[in-house]
């Protein structure tokens, strides 16, 4: 996998390069601001970009703005946003296009190296990787709590992991249940929320998120 990294803190940037190279990925470029990120992606056309939200010069949301531009200009490049905070508004803007290939994780998730790498791989493949924190906030913020109230606790767990962007197999491994029962839960969730079942992780997640946001 070919990756571009945009992160202004040198310590973390080096750490990310090391993490990715240890796992056999190629880091084409590691930059420290939004402009350089746009240029690097245009030049290298990587499979994925790992982007910090707060970067120079304003230290507000230039990473996010660059990420939105990348989604529009280079849809084949997956964008994984890293941030020390979760802003539901940012997540919503990222997911607005509905095309997948986006992720939004807390920075501390890089500590779980394997999971982080999996998430990045999903994003590069056009799937999603949403932080459990994002999902939890979206669930809390959902105005259709009546629909959610009908879910059993187990179904809620499954829904949350679905929203993070995991496959049925991933959900089964995470919850220590069989793939068959995951499929049953998913079907039941879709039924209770009135969502048509569809192919692929990504559409599934987006359907869930659209439902949560509506």
């Amino acid at each position: 996998m070919r990756v571009v990294i945009a992160e202004d803190a040198a310590l973390l940037r080096e750490g990310l390069i090391r993490l990715l190279e240890d796992r056999g990925h190629r880091v084409c470029a590691a930059v420290a601001d939004g402009e350089a990120l746009r240029a690097a992606v245009a030049e290298h056309r990587p499979d994925a970009a790992v982007v910090d939200i707060r970067m120079p010069p304003t230290h507000t949301d230039e990473g996010l703005r660059a990420a939105l531009d990348l989604r529009r200009d280079h849809p084949e490049t997956g964008v994984l946003i890293l941030s020390q905070y979760i802003e539901t508004r940012y997540a919503a803007r990222l997911l607005e296009g509905g095309a997948g290939g986006v992720g939004y994780l807390l920075k501390e998730r890089v500590a779980d190296v394997a999971e982080f790498a999996d998430g990045l791989a999903r994003v590069a493949a056009g799937g999603t990787a949403l932080d459990p924190e994002v999902v939890a906030q979206l669930l809390r913020a959902s105005r259709r709590a009546d629909g959610l109230a009908a879910l059993t606790p187990r179904e809620r767990d499954v829904l949350a992991r679905m929203a993070e962007g995991r496959s049925n197999a991933g959900i089964a491994a995470g919850l220590h249940i069989s793939g068959g029962s995951v499929e049953k839960h998913v079907a039941s969730i879709f039924g209770k929320l009135g969502l048509p079942p569809s192919e692929g992780d990504n559409r599934r997640v987006l359907a869930v998120l659209r439902y949560l946001r509506s």
């Binding site: 803190a9 310590l11 973390l12 750490g15 240890d22 020390q84 920075k107 890089v110 500590a111 190296v113």
Partner: protein, 473 residues
């Protein structure tokens, strides 16, 4: 007196003479002279105009055969009371503008006059008369209630004698210049044939002795001397005449003490709110870019190390793991140091034991030797101690950065119910609150609790900054 004492006294006298000779050429003199001229003119013209108006109205109004009619004067009185506050406000505004432009005395305008009461509606001619009377009464009432207007009127009254003083200052300049010119034109106009006697020329002085006569060229030098003396005295007279005016303008043409106080409190409150918001933003930024980032990197390094330990079923890559754990260890220590600095920046722990301890800690950490004297018998409230501490810390940092001093002295004492913290150094001086934001920030911080800062830092040094704060916030 010993020799060095004589030398010092001599130097002081020389410095005094230098100051006196330079005074007429000081840069602020033209502005002060211009102010005295315009203010004196205005100060005399307005009362003359008022008096003239009253007399004129008295003369044109029919009376009982006297030159000046009583009715006319009464009517003039009523008209003046109606117009006095408005007139005084207008003229006061001109004085304020003059003082701002020429003296740098920035006095805010007082609140506007009380809203004019509207007369009740009536019908027909009788209604119109009633309305007029009601308007008149309301106008009188509003005029009488207009505090700032009357204060401005009081200013105009006090201005009459003051205008005379300012006129006197102007005559010092004028007679001085004229008298100094005598020796220069004497030969041009007095080149008469021998034996012809001309009348002596009058020389006015600004002194009570009045004038004297000059009949010879040699005599013109007496006029020159008198003129030069007047020119040397003129800037001081001008300054004195203007100096009397300043507090009057502030006190009588400003918004009044209570309104000014409210205004000041509003300003300092807004500043306090902005300050705390800015501080929180800064803390968030420091945490985000500092400790949080370091801890994230630390977690990443540990995660990588864990991977290396867990992956290979056989021999783990110990060298790689050691390197990663090293990096993590370093990161943890850096994060701790950063958090400690951040916490200390928010509230120095030494302050819990009182200002003296905190200042001692501060002094001990200074690169330039600090001599600390702390004598505060009554402990100030925590907020005051905190402000005093941060002022001292900022001043110490300033001294270390800019002063090139060899020694710094910090004194914390109680004087007349105030906590006074003085930071003095023997450095190069030239600290200017207009340029550095640091000193301005200190002044803003002190003003939040009605404290003040006195800065003395002539070019060449030494610098001495005194922060005076009330003991209780």
């Amino acid at each position: 007196m010993d020799v060095t004492g004589t030398a010092t006294a001599g130097a002081a006298v020389r410095a005094g003479i230098r100051a006196a000779v330079r005074a007429p050429f000081a840069s602020r003199v033209p502005a002060e002279v211009l102010y005295a001229a315009v203010a004196a003119l205005l100060g005399l013209a307005v009362p003359c105009a008022v008096l003239g108006f009253a007399l004129a109205l008295g003369m044109v109004t029919p009376g009982h055969g006297e030159n000046v009619s009583i009715y006319g004067l009464v009517i003039a009185g009523v008209v003046l009371v109606l117009a006095a506050t408005r007139l005084a406000r207008g003229v006061g505004a001109v004085h304020r503008a003059l003082a701002r432009r020429l003296l740098g005395e920035d006095v805010r305008a007082p609140a506007g006059p009380p809203a004019a009461a509207r007369g009740g509606r009536g019908a027909g001619a009788r209604g119109a008369v009633t309305r007029l009377v009601a308007r008149l009464v309301a106008g009188l009432r509003d005029g009488l209630r207009d505090g700032p207007g009357w204060r401005a009127a009081a200013y105009l009254g006090l201005k009459i004698p003051l205008a005379l003083v300012q006129s006197y200052a102007l005559t010092c300049w004028i007679t001085g210049l004229v008298n100094v010119s005598y020796p220069f034109w004497w030969r041009l106009f007095r080149n008469h044939a021998p034996g012809v006697r001309l009348d002596p020329v009058l020389v006015f002085t600004t002194l009570p002795v009045g004038w004297f006569h000059v009949a010879t060229y040699a005599g013109t030098f007496a006029a020159f001397a008198v003129g030069a003396a007047a020119l040397l005295a003129a800037p001081w007279v001008t300054r004195a005449a203007v100096a009397i005016d300043r507090p009057l303008i502030r006190g009588l043409l400003g918004p009044g003490r209570l309104a000014q106080r409210v205004h000041d409190l509003e300003l300092t409150r807004a500043r306090a709110v902005d300050d705390s918001a800015a501080l929180l933003r800064q803390v968030e930024r420091d945490l985000h870019d500092g400790a949080q980032m370091r801890l994230a990197a630390l977690a990443l390094h540990l995660g990588l190390a864990k991977e290396k330990l867990g992956h290979a079923a056989g021999a783990p890559d110990l060298a790689g793991v050691r390197e990663l754990v090293d990096a993590a260890h370093r990161g943890a220590k850096d994060a701790l140091a950063e958090l400690r600095d951040l916490a200390r920046g928010l509230h120095p722990p030494a302050l819990d034991n009182g200002l003296s301890d905190a200042l001692a800690t501060l002094a001990a950490g200074s690169a330039i030797p600090v001599e600390l004297v702390s004598d505060v018998p009554v402990r100030p409230s925590p907020a005051i101690e905190t402000i005093a501490y941060f002022c001292a810390a900022e001043l110490l940092a300033n001294a270390a950065k800019h002063s090139h001093a060899d020694r710094i002295a910090i004194r914390a004492t109680e004087q007349d119910g105030l906590l006074v913290v003085t930071v003095a150094d023997d450095g190069v001086g030239g600290a200017d609150p207009a340029r550095g934001s640091g000193l301005r920030g200190l002044a803003a911080r002190a003003s939040m609790v009605d404290g003040r800062i006195d800065i003395s830092s002539p070019p060449g040094g030494p610098t001495r900054v005194a922060v005076a704060l009330p003991l209780r916030a």
